[in-house]
């Protein structure tokens, strides 16, 4: 045994032991703050700036869920399974959490790492310092048995969301499936996606629906855009803002009830809302009462749009494109399940396109911008000295200083045309919008969808620096970033003259998006997050008609558990199969038998009435 690895402290099974001992050594890298970090197969596993801070942020996302599990299992040991711990920075965060809330005596940690080399490095460096909680490492892709033994029958919670987890998601889902039901085959979730009425988030909702479908879930979209003209009509009906507000609230209430009615009728497992999807607290509560979970992807700037204050607490989970203070604020108003989830691209739509010469001439330029005419863009673009600079999109005032650059009368551009423009343009300017700043917003944090979309189209962009950008792309390599408007002309000149570098950067950005930043990645993350937090959702995915789900529901009903023991654990069973085992007139009818018999009788009655199948 290598004395540097301390495996005797952390490893209890021979498979993990052998894997770690046989693993190769990975080179240690350093983040900007000097803390160790690691790159594995081209993927950086921790923040290049501050890995410990990143871990603390991740901890904050899980805190609410962990609080809930600890409360629900008072006085019992709870196991935290860290899936893809990497170098183990999350351990520090957990130690601190346990000390703060006094749950030291009840928490145990199991680090589940599928890559032996990563585990070896982690054990070598021990970035977590001294352990204040019992920690065990289970290593290897096939080591499900050891994981199951390590978790045992204790209530548990699984932490995901690390880069290492995302990198090997399928392996983790497979191994975790033995204890959580995730990844077990397979009854798809029924996900209802009601869209916003208009705006940039409308296509985002559609991309989400596509991604859910690709993941194998049953999806129903409710396209509410036909109601947008009615929404606008309320503004035309009266000049009294109060009346307009009343009318619009009535419309929102009506649409929310429609969504709830559809969710109930279609028996959705999850309702996925994006930005201003018209849902109300009443409708969300009604759905929750019927066991339907809801999630909101808040893809707006929380400082500018504050409707989240009223609505977010009524969602079961809230995903955000900003974190830090926003997450603090959400938790302060009672949102327990919060997760940072940046924007993305849909490679089926945002992709390199072959253009005809006419299209290249029409859509192409040295420099272009596609988007709405926010104040900062009008101001900054007016200063740019590009002779061949095309601006596309609507909502540009006629009086704007850049009106002359506006193409095709400032009409709304379709998604496909946008992809054509990106591809045809040598440089795509990507300036994040602001109604309050001249030029660049120095406090800008989130990264807009355009960044991912341009990249997915294989096109080159110059993008303004944002706080979250370096976590999503590698500036200078995958993206070219400007920090103030003065940098733009020189950068543009350089890249106009260096086509190869332009193409190489664009290609790297596209690769990064396809590997990590598609809607598929996001929605998979979202579903996993929800499944880990909502037992019923996980059981639905696995199937509430799975023996194991029924056993879990049985709780301490020993009679039911014993009754179900006659059936194979990981199989789906039907009511008829269960009832076929009940022999009337042959010994005492047990309570579980009576209940299943009752269910079958009501089922038969319902079929007779034509209410169910």
């Amino acid at each position: 045994m290598s004395e540097n690895l301390h495996t005797e402290m952390y490893i209890r099974d021979s498979v993990s032991e052998n894997a770690v001992q046989a693993a190769g050594d990975l080179p240690t890298e350093r983040a900007r703050n000097g803390q160790p970090t690691l790159t594995f197969k081209g993927v950086r596993l921790h923040s290049s700036v501050n890995p410990l801070s990143e871990a603390n942020d991740l901890m904050e996302e899980f805190r609410g869920a962990l609080d809930g599990v600890l409360d629900a299992h008072d006085r019992q040991t709870v196991v935290c399974v860290l899936a893809g711990p990497g170098l183990g920075y999350l351990l520090n965060s957990l130690f601190r959490y346990a000390a703060e809330c006094g749950s030291d005596a009840r928490l145990q940690i199991v680090c589940c790492e599928t890559e032996p080399e990563i585990a070896r490095k982690a054990l070598q460096l021990q970035c977590w310092g001294e352990c204040s909680l019992p920690v065990r490492w289970v290593v290897g892709r096939q080591n499900a048995e050891a994981l199951k033994l390590a978790v045992g029958d204790a209530p548990h919670i699984v932490f995901t969301g690390t880069a290492a987890y995302r990198q090997n998601r399928e392996d983790y889902e497979s191994i975790l499936g033995r204890i959580t039901g995730i990844g077990a085959a397979e009854r798809p979730l029924r996900i209802l996606v009601p869209t916003p009425l208009y705006g940039g988030s409308f296509p985002m909702a559609k991309h989400c629906a596509d991604a859910f479908r690709e993941l194998g879930h049953q999806v129903e979209e409710m396209d509410l855009s036909p109601y947008y003209p009615l929404f606008r009509y309320t503004e035309e009906t009266t000049s009294d803002v109060r009346h307009t507000r009343v009318l619009q609230n009535l419309l929102t209430t009506f649409l929310a009830e429609m969504i709830a009615a559809r969710a109930l009728d279609w028996r959705a497992d999850l309702v996925w809302a994006v930005a201003q999807t018209p849902l109300t607290p009443a409708a969300l509560q009604e759905m929750r009462h019927e066991g339907i979970h809801s999630a909101l992807w808040f893809v707006e700037d929380y400082r500018l749009f504050n409707y989240w204050r009223e609505l977010a607490p009524h969602y079961d989970a809230v995903f955000t494109i900003q974190r830090g203070e926003f997450h603090d604020a959400l938790k302060a108003i009672g949102v327990k399940n919060v997760r940072y989830m940046p924007c993305a691209a849909n490679p089926k739509v945002h992709k390199p396109l072959a253009l005809t010469p006419e299209e290249t001439k029409r859509f192409g330029s040295d420099v272009s911008f596609v988007g709405a005419g926010y104040l900062n863009r009008q101001q900054l673009f007016a200063q740019l000295p590009f002779p061949d600079f095309k601006i596309w999109g609507n909502d540009w005032p006629e009086s704007s200083p850049v009106a002359s650059r506006l193409q095709e009368n400032g009409r709304r551009v379709t998604t496909e045309e946008t992809a054509q423009i990106y591809g045809a343009s040598k440089i795509n300017l990507n300036l994040h919008s602001s109604s309050f700043h001249n030029g660049i917003n120095p406090d800008g944090d989130f990264v807009n969808p355009r960044t991912f979309e341009i990249a997915a189209c294989g096109a080159f962009q110059l993008v303004d620096d944002r706080a979250e950008l370096c976590e999503l792309f590698e500036p200078g390599r995958e993206l070219t970033v400007f920090h103030n408007e003065n940098e733009i002309p020189d950068l543009a000149k350089y890249y106009l003259e260096h086509e190869d570098e332009r193409k190489e950067t664009a290609e790297l950005a596209r690769k990064r998006v396809l590997e990590q930043h598609t809607y598929l990645h996001r929605m998979r993350d979202a579903v996993t997050f929800c499944e880990l937090r909502f037992r019923r959702l996980a059981e639905r995915k696995r199937g509430p008609n799975y023996v194991s789900s029924l056993k879990r529901a049985a709780g301490d009903d020993a009679e039911l558990v014993e009754f179900l023991s006659a059936f194979p654990e990981d199989e789906e069973i039907t009511l008829d199969q269960i009832v076929s085992r009940i022999k009337l007139g042959n010994g005492r009818l047990t309570r579980p038998e009576g209940l299943f018999l009752l269910m079958k009788e009501f089922r038969d009655w319902g079929r007779e009435k034509g209410v169910i199948q």
Binding site: L575, L597, I612, Q613
Partner: protein
């Protein structure tokens, strides 16, 4: 001493719940007890207005059943829901549980509540279905064919009380709040509650029971000429129908369909002059609040079964051979709808009680009946006119006494049912002879079976004896088809036999023997020749 805890399960609709009131009242008579009523959640409001009920539990069947769907179901949630339901503190330590429903699911649910005594359909500890109470068996037997049932549903329910005793009228609580709200609804609809108005109920559970809406509209218009407004009620689903009638009546009628809950409806009915309705639950609410009703009973609706329980209600039935029709009739002509004219209903609606007979006598093409509760608690139907067709009241009267004698405790072999003086056709004598022959065969089979068991016969021989039991039961089935006029009795026997316990040969034999005793008793009542001959059972069973 703790009061008795009585639980009643009744998974039925609004009208039947109201009709169960007298039974519930009688269950509590002369006993210190607490009565809990379990109903479908949808009808909780009605149940809570039964004044004799101390507590109501709503069973959310609308939530449960979708969870049992093959494709979209959630067995875990369904199991959780049922477990949660059974955890209700009011479902513990039940002294008596009366299951008024006649379904396997109600039987299983009742069994899971583990009462000390269970009446009605339930399950034995080994899970087999069982029925405790002969009147429950009777109810099960008439579910297949009510044609020869002589009892009103209220009377049948009342007979479920194992302790017997008299039973009273229908009851329903109407509060001050209900009256205030009713007042508001009427005012908003432009109806002055101080002026006379009637309530119209044009909806029904199926099209065959519905008097045409145009006729309701015309009736409303004619009543308006007499200064009587019409208020049309109904569920949300009937709103369109009600508004249609209001429009067709040129404003003589106003619609409150979909706007009333049970309390509002009851208060409106209490204030109204009368209700004019198809055979619906509303007619029983009307009887419960003491307002006279005129029932238009079409399709399979039969006054003898479901007339409102009380004095002075009028029922109009078509004077047709085919009326009432069997439940699963596939009639598409609905000829019975046209026999009841607006004149009939209008004249009867505006007639005072002492005029009703005179008015009824003029009504051609219909049967006009008036209800009266006798001193013994029976609901009699007084025929006010002379139609060409109609139930054979003697027949029904005979069988009401037949069943009371056979099924009530205290009836003994040799009891006679007298008082009839009609000739009996030869074929009915043949029927009774045939039934007697089946009985003889049954007794012979039973005797052989007993001997085989007592002598330790081989399994093959005992199997053979068991098959013989099935043979005479098949004979009963054949008899039912050939002699429908006498079918109720063999149906009852077959229902008893269907719940014979089969877990053990000795137990099965005991159940068989018990049924044969009833067979014997019933036959003796039928073949006390003088009495039976005088019953006047008609030759043509279709007329009834």
């Amino acid at each position: 001493m703790m009061p008795l805890h009585i639980v009643v399960v009744n998974f039925t609709r609004m009208g039947d719940l109201v009709q169960s009131g007298p039974l519930l009242r009688s269950l509590k008579r002369d006993r210190e007890c607490r009565l809990t009523l379990i109903v479908y959640k949808l009808f909780r409001d009605v149940a809570e207005r039964l004044p004799m009920v101390d507590s109501v539990i709503g069973f959310d069947v609308d939530r449960l059943v979708p969870r049992l769907d093959h494709n979209r179901g959630d067995l875990t949630a369904a199991y959780d829901q049922l477990t949660e339901f059974l955890r209700d503190a009011r479902l513990t330590q039940i002294d008596e549980l009366h299951n008024l429903s006649h379904t396997p699911q109600s039987a299983t649910l009742c069994a899971l509540m583990n009462p000390r005594r269970l009446y009605g359909m339930g399950r034995l500890p080994d899970g087999q279905l069982t029925v405790n109470g002969e009147w429950f068996n009777y109810l099960l037997s008439i579910m297949q064919d009510r044609t020869f049932n002589p009892f009103n549903l209220v009377e049948i329910y009342a007979r479920f009380n194992p302790h017997g005793g008299p039973f009273g009228p229908l009851e329903l609580t109407v509060t001050e709040k209900d009256h205030r709200r009713a007042e508001e609804l009427l005012r908003a609809a432009g109806v002055d509650s101080r002026c006379p108005f009637v309530v119209l109920q044009p909806g029904a559970s199926c099209a065959s029971r519905m008097w045409p809406k145009e006729r309701f509209a015309e009736l409303a218009a004619r009543l308006a000429q007499r200064g009587v407004r019409s208020v049309v009620v109904g569920s949300v689903a009937e709103k369109h129908l009600a508004e249609n009638i209001a429009t067709l009546s040129n404003g003589s009628a106003v619609s409150l369909a979909g706007q009333t809950d049970v309390g509002d409806l009851a208060a409106i009915l209490k204030t109204a002059l009368k209700l004019i309705s198809n055979d619906t639950g509303t007619i029983h609410i009307t009887a419960a609040v003491g307002t006279p009703a005129i029932g238009i009973y079409l399709g399979p609706a039969a006054a003898k079964d479901t007339a409102p329980f009380g004095d002075g209600h009028i029922i109009i039935e078509p004077d047709l051979k085919c009326a009432p029709c069997p439940y699963k009739s596939e009639c598409q002509t609905f000829i019975c709808h046209h026999t009841v004219s607006v004149d009939h209903v209008f004249e009867l609606a505006v007639a005072d009680r002492h005029e009703q007979k005179i008015v009824a006598a003029r009504c051609r093409g219909v049967r006009v009946l008036r209800t009266k509760v006798s001193a013994s608690g029976r609901l009699d139907l007084e025929l006010l006119n002379a139609p060409a067709t109609g139930p054979n009241n003697l027949h029904l009267s005979f069988f009401s006494r037949f069943w009371d004698t056979l099924l009530n405790e205290g009836g003994t072999l040799g009891d006679s049912i007298g008082g009839f003086r009609h000739d009996i056709p030869a074929e009915w004598n043949n029927a009774v002879s045939r039934l007697s022959a089946v009985f003889s065969r049954a007794v012979e089979s039973m005797s052989r079976f007993s001997n085989d068991v007592a002598n330790g016969a081989s399994e093959a021989r005992i199997s053979n004896s068991l098959r013989k039991q099935v043979e005479w039961q098949n004979d009963l089935h054949s008899f039912i088809n050939e002699y429908p006029g006498l079918s109720s009795f063999p149906r009852y026997l077959l229902v008893r036999l269907s719940t014979a316990r089969t877990s053990d040969v000795a137990v099965y034999m005991a159940d068989l023997r018990d049924t044969l005793n009833y067979f014997h008793h019933g036959l003796s009542l039928l073949t006390c020749s003088e009495d039976f001959q005088k019953a006047g059972i008609p030759a043509d069973a279709a007329i009834a």
